[in-house]
């Protein structure tokens, strides 16, 4: 394709990086926010602002809630394409009940799956989930959106675009391109190590953008590679569904064989049976973990084949003290409480796999590493954004000569994915605080409205970036950068003030109480505002000198600025 290897790598880096960089910006930014998804949830759902709780009693608290759980209308609608004929009104046979928590969760996530008699695939089940207060079993309203863990977090791996799983595929391909961009980026640069220490902020924009691009790319290279790669491994089952398509027979054979080896029944017996005390089973599991010298917090509790003779209870240890998510599972016969099986130590491959995925998902307790993840994610954003700026700076004069609008488009999309994206996130938080607790009848659910606000602000920011982009075609800066920086500098503190007005939790309060989930997000919003203000002022000064120079050298295509 090209004369040499380096040129073909440069071509790949430039053009694939340009096209998919816009997706990767969102992946890195919302991935960075996901590190503190539970904390963002606390900010967005003020009723959940209390300390993390252990797994509550199953017998007294969870069981009555599970027994009353039923799929919501939305769950049923979503399932209907996987069933023959109309869906049942009521679901009587629970396949699975589960409760999941981490050391950062005050609220408890529970889910239940039910048999669907007319499902197309006989194994298929309809699932529904709820969020409850583990102290008293109060159920949080369906329409309150946990913005961190239910919106920003899935946004970073699916773009919240679920039609035919297309969002997953776009992000997956972009991750592959991230890996490609890292390898090709290293190949392009001969002076790899010198670039680790090179940043010339006072040179021309093109030079300093490239320095920053190389610096953030090279310093965080292992981080970028690791996260793009493990992101792919986590969703390998979606990207290469080999064991559920081509090798499904082999997979089914393995499952039945495994059920024989483990003694955990694969299917229901069809004989009704009661459920013994699950709390006693939890106590026994904790006794066995303690014997092995392990911390005894329950992370995941699941009942399979609920109410059947073959039913069993699986209890897993929370992933606070190691990289793997949950583990050391102990399984009990549900009707008697006798131990059926203790999971054996993990194999080498399983260890490697859980280390890779666990280090990405980071459910263990390590606040320093958590912050390093945020920095790594933001470094990724800086790397990609400076890539766009370098692209525009390098070509804008050439495009002016050709009368091309390319630089204008790229620059407007860069504005959209840098300041526009942050504006959308801040706008969503503001919407979250401004929407009334109970909405008038006939309105869409509250959480949906918050999502519309997010996408609406983002589209507006994009329209604004394009509308203001004319100067780029004359090799000057798009004033939308300045406008949106100042908009951020104004709106981010508005979110902080609204949090104060609507909940009473102002910074002096939350900091003195040491309530960091809320104090942290408020402080982060103020930092965003400060940085946006500094950047906006700097850029405005630059546009002013730029237009002054431009008037002085009217008609000259060789406009330079310092």
């Amino acid at each position: 394709m090209f004369q040499n290897f380096r040129l073909s790598m440069a071509w790949l880096h430039t053009w694939f990086g340009l096209v998919l960089g816009f997706v990767l910006m969102a992946v890195f930014f919302f991935g960075a926010l996901s590190v503190f998804d539970r904390e963002i949830d606390r900010w967005a759902v003020p009723e959940s602002r209390f300390e993390p709780q252990p797994m509550p009693s199953f017998d007294n608290l969870l069981r009555p809630i599970f027994e009353k759980m039923q799929p919501t209308k939305t769950d049923i609608e979503q399932f209907s394409s996987r069933a023959n004929g109309p869906m049942p009104e009521h679901f009587d046979t629970p396949v699975r009940w589960g409760a999941y928590t981490t050391h950062r969760d005050p609220v408890l996530n529970i889910f239940a799956g039910y048999e669907v008699p007319n499902a197309i695939h006989h194994d298929d089940a309809i699932f529904t989930s709820s969020t409850i207060d583990p102290r008293d079993g109060r159920i949080f309203p369906d329409d309150s959106l946990k913005i961190g863990s239910q919106f920003f977090y899935p946004l970073h791996y699916s773009l919240n675009f679920h039609w035919m799983d297309l969002g997953y595929w776009i992000v997956g391909f972009s991750s592959l391109i991230m890996l490609v961009a890292l390898v090709s980026g290293v190949v392009m640069h001969r002076k790899f190590f010198r670039e680790l220490f090179t940043f010339r902020p006072n040179k021309a924009t093109q030079r300093s953008a490239l320095d920053l691009h190389n610096l953030t790319g090279v310093v965080a290279l292992p981080f970028h590679f690791f996260f793009a790669f493990t992101g792919l491994v986590i969703f390998a089952g979606i990207y290469f569904p080999v064991s559920h398509t081509q090798l499904e027979q082999l997979h089914d054979q393995h499952e039945i064989h495994e059920a024989q080896v483990t003694g955990l029944p694969h299917d229901r017996a069809g004989i009704a049976a009661p459920i013994a005390s699950v709390d006693a089973m939890v106590a026994e599991a904790q006794r066995r973990w303690a014997e092995r010298g392990m911390a005894g917090d329950v992370g995941f509790l699941a009942l399979s084949h609920v109410g059947d003779e073959n039913g069993y209870v699986s209890i897993y240890r929370a992933g606070t003290d190691r990289v793997a998510l949950t583990g050391e599972g102990i399984h009990f016969k549900a009707s008697t409480g006798e131990v059926l099986r203790e999971d054996p130590p993990r194999t080498v491959v399983a260890n490697v796999n859980e280390f890779l995925t666990g280090l990405h998902l980071q459910h263990f307790r390590h606040w320093l590493l958590r912050w390093l993840y945020v920095l790594g994610g933001l470094a990724g954003c800086v790397c990609i954004a400076t890539g766009f700026i370098f692209f525009v700076e390098k070509r804008k004069r050439q495009y002016v000569k050709q009368g091309s609008q390319n630089a204008r488009v790229v620059d407007a999309l860069a504005v959209t994915t840098v300041t526009g994206m942050v504006l959308a996130a801040v706008g969503m938080l503001i919407g979250n605080r401004l929407l009334p607790g109970t909405l008038p009848a006939g309105w869409p659910p509250r959480g949906n409205l918050e999502e519309y606000i997010f996408w609406g602000v983002w589209v507006l920011a994009m329209a604004h970036a394009f509308w203001r982009s004319a100067p780029v075609a004359q090799a000057r800066m798009n004033p939308a950068w300045v406008d949106q920086c100042f908009a951020l500098a104004f709106l981010a503190p508005v979110a902080v003030v609204l949090n104060w007005i609507t909940t009473g939790d102002h910074l002096a309060n939350t900091i003195s109480a040491g309530y960091w989930p809320v104090a942290g997000l408020d402080l982060a919003l103020l930092v965003v505002a400060g940085l946006a203000f500094i950047a906006g002022r700097h850029l405005r000064r630059k546009t002013q000198t730029e237009s002054a120079t431009a008037t002085n050298q009217l008609g000259s295509a060789e406009v330079q600025h310092g």
């Binding site: 394709m1 790949l12 490609v180 491994v233 290469f240 081509q246 027979q249 082999l250 490697v352």
Partner: protein, 104 residues
């Protein structure tokens, strides 16, 4: 990396670029599919636990995808890229099917 140096390549037509992109994405996909299927079926057949074989296949598979994707753009002959990726991907997929057939 500039347009100038790349446009001096004689064969950089849109059709050729699309051919390369197709080879990297689709050819690479067929190849990695074959690799994951064969390593899953093959390793399971020789006694590795099912999910271990699956995890092994996807961890190595994505690294291979990266390598063959880069190769699709760096190789001199595009025809060879298509042939090698789709050919060996197809062969590995078929081998996996045969192993499954003999096990089930």
């Amino acid at each position: 990396m500039s347009l100038k140096s790349s446009s001096s390549s004689p064969n950089l037509t849109p059709a050729h670029i699309l051919g390369r992109i197709g080879a990297g994405i689709l050819g690479g996909y067929v190849f990695v599919w074959g690799f994951i299927a064969l390593s899953l079926a093959g390793l399971y057949a020789v006694g590795m636990p099912f999910h271990d074989a699956e995890a092994f296949g996807s961890i190595i598979g994505f690294l291979l995808y990266l390598v063959v994707f880069l190769w699709a753009f760096a190789a001199q002959s595009m025809g060879k890229v298509w042939l090698v990726l789709v050919g060996s991907g197809g062969l590995m997929t078929a081998a996996a099917a045969l192993i499954q057939h003999s096990l089930v």
